[in-house]
Amino acid sequence: MFKRIWGWIQRFSSPKHFYDISGKMIPWFAVSALLLGVYGLYMGLFVAPTDYQQGESYRIIFIHVPAAWMSLFIYMVMAIASAIGLIWQIKLADMVAAASAPIGAWFTFLALVTGSLWGKPMWGAYWVWDARLTSELILLFLYFGYMALQSSIEDQRTADKASGLLAIVGVVNIPIIHYSVEWWNTLHQGATVAKFDKPSMHIDMLIPLLVMAFAAKLFYAAVVLVRARNEVLMRERNRQWVRELVEKI
């Protein structure tokens, strides 16, 4: 029984199988991301009411919060995939981790800059060294560290081990980011959605926020698959099936 499951996992995670399946999934993720994104933007910019305290500036939330959530989500994907790659030697997991890093870095960057653009009119400063902002900046550096290790180590297996280890150790930063607004005094506002009682947000603001967050997840799914397929082609370039496939393109 266990052997059969293991065999199934290995077959499913074979780079060739992944390459074929993911090629079929990408358009679906891309189209649904686009549709949800347009719907979310419409709801966020035209339907959601003006905030009684922050005026129209709060509309940055529909970019900022999904980007920040994605920065954490993608990091967890990267760390878990790295762990799977390290423990079970599944090459595909390392490829997914490597494919995730630049996307995660982009979302983190977007979260930091939009936060800064929101901070200026609301707090009077583009940047303050408080716990939430600092730990999110550390997250960006963790992504950069992962990418630097990937690109600077010649041997792919060594690169995966080193960068994967960094990704796993860096997980300690994730709860710090999440709870930073509770553990330390901070300018950053507390959680409004991800908390145990009811989200303290108007439903017409909450819906576009959740739609945009879901659109961002689908966008990541599409992009990470394209990137992981690149990793497959690159890393398996000496395999017969890759050569046959490339000649047909």
Partner: protein, 64 residues
């Protein structure tokens, strides 16, 4: 926006926060575009590299 009639100029004005709001949305759009374009370019680069390797090996094969 505030219950009164919709106007585009008011919309773009964003209650005086236009610079901050539209920079945020603009950057998000840029991020989306870059993340679509760069893996596509990367894919072409990888395929070209594999093709070159195949050609090189084919010509080496003739010599040996």
């Amino acid at each position: 926006m505030n219950g009164s009639e919709f106007s585009w100029s008011e919309f773009f004005h964003m209650g005086g926060y236009a610079v901050f709001v539209w920079s945020s949305y603009g950057l998000a759009l840029l991020m989306v575009v870059v993340n679509i374009v760069s893996p596509i370019i990367e894919r072409k680069r990888v395929i070209a590299r594999v093709k070159r390797a195949i050609k090189r090996e084919a010509s080496n094969g003739q010599v040996n």
